[in-house]
């Protein structure tokens, strides 16, 4: 054996095309392929051990060989009589594959590595508010006193849980300058529904059942018109002005005795504050309607502006946006709704009330007739998203009133920094009208022939970033909505700006390689048309495939 005295080792890839060769496994070093559970698991394998139902095993407490009643009773008799209270409805084959614990941990860990996440880098998905999720929130939510409590426990045993709901409610009311808050809604769109049902209940109480139209701006989230329709209203669009705001004159012209109210997002989905919000509210109120505010973008103004000062009657707050509860790959969310004095009497069951002695009670079905007779009713089982309440309150207490003011300030600062750093290379349709709020909006104007917003998004993936929201809002052609949030550093923003600038320049120059991006992700562009044409939504049994 000879000693390699020069210390040479191959540092650069061999220039022989080996990097393009397929591997035996399909893996590329740390980029690991993972089969479906149904291809690796089997119905006779499990990762959970259970106590034996025999007298000797498990929990038979009898000592000295004495068999306890429990052990005897939990052992099915030879005829199976005792175990059969199932009405002769025994289950046939289920075909659910299982894995042992090590296989399970590996399956999901390998899958996790095919995901982009905030923990990996800037996730500038406009309107979704992908901010850092503090891990203290997770620790607190897992305390047994919160995580291991049943929603129907006697009130004396849940004073802490009701205390959390009450304390968070006080924060939300004071931060928004509103009169009351409904904590039950399970997510933003559910909160919209809650607010709209309050409006409808208030109008019904006034006997004005002829008000059946809700006005919604063109730039609204899709959930707004969908919610209005879900609650039995018809929807009419309000146009936007050239500078991306609600057209006040057009709105005023449409107001009348058939209008139940308006649904307005503020700051709006173009990333702009609706300057005329108070005038809009006053006009709607004068015409006998109510003002619903989509609070998805409350994170831009929290701690600085109270919607109650702008004449809002109802607004949902996405705790998973403004108050940092994790997005979890698509929920769970939480959408408490703050209410004006006019709408609060109609809010949903249940809610928490405080006795003079400091203890809490729950107003629910058994007691609402005395305590909350106007309620429109219950909109979900139990009491709302407790696990999100504990996380949001933890976040709010961490920041305090001073910190929350800095949160919105830094979020808006970061967005404006992106807007001004990129407006020379990307078209920013509303940049001339002044600063943006928490998100910067660009269009696809100026790209080379045949190059689209989608190409820019896919190019950003190769640069190691999650793309911004694309093709929303609908009022801008090829929209790109960039929301950095306050939890990005300047260095992180500079790198993102550099990457987006580089990709935008390639799109302007007509770089054809961008059209096939991404090249370095776990998958290339996926065929969504084929997926919708012949939907494969579940893995069929192997037996089916053999037929």
């Amino acid at each position: 054996m000879t000693i390699n005295q020069s210390g040479w080792r191959p540092e650069a890839p061999l220039a022989n095309g080996a990097g393009d060769q397929p591997t035996f496994t399909g893996n590329r070093a740390l980029m690991l392929e993972e089969p479906l559970l149904f291809e690796i698991g089997s119905t006779d394998r499990t990762g959970v051990d259970f106590e034996s139902p025999s007298p000797q095993g498990g929990e038979g407490r009898g000592e000295g060989g004495q068999t306890s009643w429990w052990g005897t009773l939990t052992q099915p008799s030879p005829q199976g009589e005792r175990a059969n209270k199932l009405g002769n409805l025994e289950r046939g084959p289920i075909n659910l594959p299982g894995l042992s614990e090590p296989e399970t941990v590996r399956h999901y860990t390998r899958l996790s590595r095919q995901n982009y996440a905030i923990d990996l880098g800037v996730f500038p998905l406009g309107s979704c508010t992908m901010k850092h999720n503090p891990r203290l929130n997770e620790r607190v939510a897992r305390l047994p006193g919160f995580a291991d409590v049943h929603p129907l426990q006697p009130i004396s045993t849940i004073q802490g849980a009701l205390g959390v709901i009450h304390e968070l409610a006080i924060w939300l009311i004071k931060l928004t300058g509103m009169y009351g808050v409904a904590m039950a809604p399970k997510a933003g769109a559910h909160g919209e529904l809650c607010g709209i049902l309050c409006i409808r209940a208030a109008l019904d109480a006034r006997g004005e059942t002829n008000r059946r139209v809700l006005l919604v701006p063109e730039s609204a989230h899709g959930t707004n018109p969908a919610t209005a329709a879900f609650a039995g209203y018809s929807v009419e669009n309000i146009p936007a002005t050239a500078e991306g705001r609600v057209d006040l004159a057009a709105l005023q012209a449409r107001l009348g005795p058939d209008i139940a109210g308006v649904m307005i997002t503020n700051p709006n989905t173009c990333g702009l504050f609706e300057r005329d919000m108070k005038a809009i509210s006053d006009a709607v109120h004068a015409a006998g309607g109510y003002v619903y505010c989509d609070g998805a973008n409350f994170n831009a103004i929290v701690g600085r502006v109270r919607p109650g000062d702008l004449g809002i009657d109802a607004m949902h707050i996405n705790l998973h946006k403004t108050f940092s509860t994790p997005h979890g790959g698509g929920g769970p969310g939480s959408g408490p709704v703050v209410l004006s004095e006019a709408l609060a009497p109609y809010g949903p069951l249940p809610f928490v009330a405080k006795y003079p002695d400091g203890s809490f009670r729950l107003i629910e079905e058994a007691s609402f007739e005395q305590d909350h007779p106007g309620t429109f009713g219950r909109m979900t089982a139990f009491h709302g998203q407790m696990g999100m309440f504990t996380r949001a309150l933890t976040y709010i207490l961490s920041h305090g009133a001073d910190g929350l003011r800095q949160v919105s300030g830094d979020a808006v600062l970061n967005a404006n920094y992106i807007l001004r750093s990129l407006e020379d290379v990307l078209d920013a349709p509303f940049a001339a009208s002044g600063p943006c709020m928490h998100e910067a909006l660009f269009s696809d104007d100026g790209m080379a022939q045949g190059f689209t917003t989608l190409d820019i998004a896919k190019g950003l993936i190769d640069e190691g970033f999650h793309p911004m929201t694309v093709y929303f809002p609908l009022v801008v052609h090829g929209a790109m909505l960039v929301e950095p949030t306050e939890t990005e550093s300047k260095a992180g923003l500079d790198q993102f700006i550099g990457a987006l600038r580089s990709v935008a320049e390639r799109a302007k120059a007509g770089d054809e390689t961008l059209k096939s991006a991404p090249h370095f992700a776990p998958r290339r562009r996926l065929d969504e048309t084929a997926a919708a044409r012949t939907p494969v939504l579940a893995q069929r049994y192997l037996a089916d495939e053999d037929d």
């Binding site: 479906l36 698991g41 119905t43 499990t46 009773l73 939990t74 209270k85 002769n88 289920i94 095919q114 995901n115 607190v140 939510a141 305390l143 919160f146 995580a147 291991d148 049943h150 426990q153 802490g160 959390v164 997510a187 769109a189 559910h190 049902l197 329709a229 879900f230 701690g303 600085r304 502006v305 109270r306 000062d309 994790p326 979890g328 790959g329 698509g330 769970p332 009713g377 219950r378 909109m379 139990f382 009491h383 933890t394 305090g400 009133a401 001073d402 300030g409 830094d410 600062l413 970061n414 600063p435 993936i461 300047k490 991404p518 562009r525 996926l526 065929d527 084929a530 919708a532 939504l537």
Partner: protein
């Protein structure tokens, strides 16, 4: 502040790039009268991590954790043991801090999990397809009624008296606004046999009926064969919607799909999610292939990428609000992604073998507990059939008894008086749940506490 990376020097430099003098100047579009000059008045300032933990920890201690008591509460949420790897895996940042997979090339982890989850739910329920989850069982139940309305173009829904009363309330709330008609009845303890409700449902189905909604096992724990009901629905062109609030039961009981249900919805909390004081939970939603385009909620589908490799995407989104707006099948956007992940991991750990064992142990323990408790003077077991939950008729009002027992650290179950108005004997009803977490000592404690309280 520990969650804010910008330094004052960064802020100054960035403001110079923007051309603004201060952060406050960026809020120029907010009318001056609505702009606060300092922190919102009347609220405390920031706290350290340690101080927040102390504050929240003190609140947590004011609750009785289920694990610290003799615990028998169910009625729509069940305490099961969740293997430690479930909570470990859902806290991987790549799952926890991702969002709805709008960019599938860098979200295959979430998407493959959803595809596996949809398959697991469909197989568990005995259906063809399931969606990627809803908020919870109660909202999924209403969404199913809406779907039946779209399919049948009829507006009369018949609800079983054994449907969870919160689910009934949610449906009543929504029906007021949509114009659907609900045929509703309350359960009774006097004639509390499932056959009575079944007869009522069978008699009420007519050619105006969009659907019949029935829970199995029902709120009082009864287990029923729904096959005849399914046939009766189909004979009149109506759909059978089945609600499952305890999915563990399907490791032992014939699935709703096998009994002929057209839509099966459920609360998935039992598997992987935990109690969490009622939320976040997990709405399960499954149906037949032929109805998939009327389904609410997100769907993940299989496809291929530009290289021909298998991959997954969100699909059939022309049903959804972000495309169809007011014509969408639902207004739902965010669902219960992380809870679906927890469910799927727990179900993978169990597998069919584990699920069957878990169900068998739940049932065996419940049978044993029912025998012991029904021997207590003043206690009558109402169920002929049940899975892991049954209803007792006590010789005293159950609501105050439950409160008294809580003071002795016995969480005895759910008094029907908590859920319903008094009448037909309901004020004496107690719903008792027994799972694999229940011990012999717990049952003895409850039996002796009931004996004393009813003496």
């Amino acid at each position: 502040m520990r969650y804010l990376p910008l330094s004052d020097a960064d802020r100054s430099e960035m403001l110079a790039t923007i051309g603004a003098a201060s952060i406050d100047d960026l809020f120029v579009d907010v009318p001056a009268a609505a702009r606060l000059s300092g922190p919102v008045p009347g609220l405390p300032m920031h706290m350290t991590e340690m101080a927040v933990e102390r504050h929240m920890g003190a609140l947590a201690k004011r609750n009785t954790a289920a694990g610290d008591a003799a615990f028998f509460i169910g009625a729509g949420a069940y305490r099961h043991h969740v293997p430690s790897s479930v909570d470990h895996l859902i806290q991987r940042g790549e799952f926890l801090t991702a969002y709805t997979p709008y960019q599938p090339e860098i979200a295959q982890g979430t998407l493959q999990v959803l595809f596996e989850f949809q398959t697991q739910v469909a197989r568990l329920f005995g259906c063809d397809v399931a969606n990627a989850s809803m908020y919870d069982g109660s909202t999924a139940c209403w969404e199913a009624i809406g779907m039946a309305r779209r399919i049948t173009r009829r507006t009369k829904a018949i609800l079983s008296a054994g449907l969870h009363p919160h689910y009934v309330s949610v449906c009543q709330t929504m029906a007021k606004f949509t114009g659907d008609t609900l045929d509703i009845a309350l359960p009774t303890l006097e004639q509390g046999k499932p056959g009575d409700d079944m007869a009522r449902l069978l008699a009420a189905i007519d050619d105006q009926t969009s659907c019949v909604v029935v829970q199995n096992p029902n709120i009082m724990g009864h287990v029923a064969d729904l096959s005849e009901l399914a046939e009766a629905c189909h004979a009149k062109g109506a759909l059978l919607i089945t609600v499952v609030t305890e999915p563990v039961s399907l490791g032992a009981i014939k699935s709703p799909g096998e009994m002929g249900a057209d839509i099966v919805v459920g609360e998935g909390q039992s598997i992987g999610v935990g109690l969490q004081f009622g939320g976040p939970y997990l709405g399960l939603f499954a149906t037949r292939d032929k109805y998939v385009r009327q389904m609410p909620g997100r769907l993940c589908g299989q496809t291929v990428d530009a290289d021909g490799k298998r991959g997954f995407v969100l699909t059939l989104s022309t049903r959804e609000q972000h495309i169809r707006r007011e014509k969408a099948t639902s207004n739902i956007c965010t669902n219960s992604g992380l809870c679906a992940l927890a469910f799927s991991i727990h179900m993978t750990l169990l597998g069919e073998k584990g699920l069957r064992e878990l169900a068998a142990i739940n049932h065996a323990k419940a049978v044993a507990a029912a025998e012991v408790l029904s021997k207590v003077p003043g206690v009558e077991l109402l169920n002929h059939t049940f899975f892991n939950e049954f209803t007792l008729k006590l010789s005293k009002r159950s609501r105050s008894l439950v409160r008294d027992l809580a003071d002795r650290n016995v969480l005895a179950g759910v008094a029907l008086g908590r859920l319903y108005k008094d009448g037909d004997g309901r004020e004496n009803g107690l719903i008792v749940a027994v799972t694999e977490t229940t011990t012999e000592e717990h049952v003895e404690t409850l039996a002796s506490a009931l004996k004393e309280a009813l003496a």
